[in-house]
Every structure is written in C-alpha cells, then in structure tokens.
C-alpha cells in the first residue's frame, strides 16, 4: 500500500473536509450552500475513482475495446448530481425568503433576530 494506490481517496477526503469546514465555520447562508455542493462533488469522486481501470475506456461497448471502466457508479452519480442541483435550488429559494423576512443572511444575525422578536409568534 503506497501513496500512489490510495491517492484518490486522500484527495476526496481533502475536498470533503474542506466542504465540511465551509459549512460549519462560515455564517453566511449562501456560502454554506456552496460548501455543501463542494462536499457533494467530493462524494462523486469517492464513488467514481474506484471504478476506473487503468487501460480501460469509457463504458460504451464497441468491438475495438476489451476493457471498460465500471459503469455502475456513473449511473448512481448521474442521479446524485441532478438531486444535488435540485437541493441547491430549493436551498437558495429558502435563503431568498429568509432574506426577505429577516433582512440578513448571516446566521448569527438571524438567530439574534429570532430570539429577540420571535417569542410571541
């Protein structure tokens, strides 16, 4: 087990942790959503990297090629990408509504406004 054999996993982990850090350490809601999408793209790498066979080709069957990379993760990740953008769209719609109600998209300002004036609702 050398660095070269597991390098793809470590790249994935780096991106995943960077996305997680943006989500938990930044207060701006739009930036949190961007961090979440970075996290999601790292998960795509996590699934697709093990499917690759060196010397293989894209999984489109043709008489000229014998070895193909694994098509099953591609199918799952196609679904995941579309679901990810759907989540992003809904999240952004929620952020726009929050902005209109509270006047800010910073997390601590929203929590302060909620705690001060929201108890009588």
């Amino acid at each position: 087990m050398s660095v070269a054999s597991h390098f793809s996993y470590w790249v994935t982990i780096l991106l995943m942790v960077a996305g997680l850090y943006i989500v938990i350490a930044r207060g701006n809601l739009v930036k949190k959503l961007i961090g979440l999408s970075i996290f999601q793209t790292s998960v795509y790498l996590l699934y697709i990297a093990p499917g690759k066979l060196i010397g293989g080709t894209a999984p489109i069957v043709s008489p000229a090629f014998k070895i193909y990379s694994n098509p099953l993760p591609h199918v799952l990740i196609l679904t995941a990408i579309v679901v990810g953008v759907a989540t992003l769209a809904l999240g952004l719609a929620l952020v726009v509504r929050i902005r209109e109600e509270y006047g800010s998209i910073e997390e601590d300002e929203i929590l302060a406004a909620d705690g001060a004036g929201g108890d009588d609702e």
Binding site: A58, I60, I81, A93, V96, R99
Partner: protein, 143 residues
C-alpha cells in the same frame, strides 16, 4: 444588454446550434455520452442565454410561463405513462420488452420515451426556477 449589437447578433446565430446540439445529445445518447439530463440542461441553458441577452419579458413571450409549468409535469407523466403502458400490454410496471414486436425493439422504444420524459422535466424545472429567481424584485429597499 439590449444595446450591444454584437451580443445580439451572435446570440441569434448561436441559439439554433445550441438547440440542435441539445437534440443531438438527447437522441445520440445511446451511442455516445449523453442522454436525457444533459439534453434537458442544455435546452434550459439556451433559453437562459436568450433571457440574459434579450431581457426576461422577451424570453417570457417566447416560452410562456404556462408552457414551462406544463413541461415540468408532462415529463414525469410521460415517464410514468411508459410504465403504465407496460402494465396494459401484459408485463409488469416499467417493463419495456412488451412494447414492440421484439424484446430488443421494445427496450429501445422504452428507453427513447423515458429519456424524452426526463429531458422535458429537467429543462422545464431549470427554466422555471430561473424565471422565478430572475423575475423577483429585490425588496430589500422597501423594508
């Protein structure tokens, strides 16, 4: 962006090619990378491009809101309809091999219609979301 002549001319030249490319990606998805999702997103991107250059009211006139909302639901209905057609013709839900005279042709026909449904829904939803975001007035100054 209405006043920039170069942008308007180039946009009008590019848009048919973008739409043809989207159709190519859709129908050639059986033989090359592509398929319903990519084609749907490219169609939505073409319309968003038109809206960016010529303004949102012009885009709304070209593709009215009612049409977009219909497309959103129609794609899912097409997909579910293929499944029900499989039921009516004798197989299980979403069985493709009963749809035509030979199982392989049935598979091809089923895959074709399913991808059409997916492309219609994806393009409709992306375009509708863009219309909603772009058509909203910024109300921060009113509060």
């Amino acid at each position: 962006m209405r006043g920039f002549l170069v942008l308007r001319v180039v946009a009008k030249l590019l848009m048919p090619f973008m739409l043809v490319f989207a159709l190519y990606v859709q129908f050639h998805g059986d033989y090359s990378p592509g398929g319903g999702f990519q084609a749907g997103v490219i169609i939505a991107a073409t319309m968003i491009f038109y809206a960016l250059i010529f303004g949102l009211p012009a885009a709304r006139q070209l593709v009215p809101e009612a049409l977009v909302e219909t497309m959103v639901a129609l794609g899912v209905l097409i997909y579910a309809g293929v499944g029900v057609a499989g039921l009516l013709l004798g197989g299980n839900y979403l069985d493709y091999f009963v749809l035509a005279h030979s199982p392989v042709h049935g598979q091809e026909r089923g895959i074709f219609w399913v991808e059409v449904g997916v492309a219609v829904t994806v393009s409709g939803v992306m375009l509708k979301i863009f219309y909603m975001f772009a058509g909203r007035q910024r109300s921060a100054e009113d509060e």
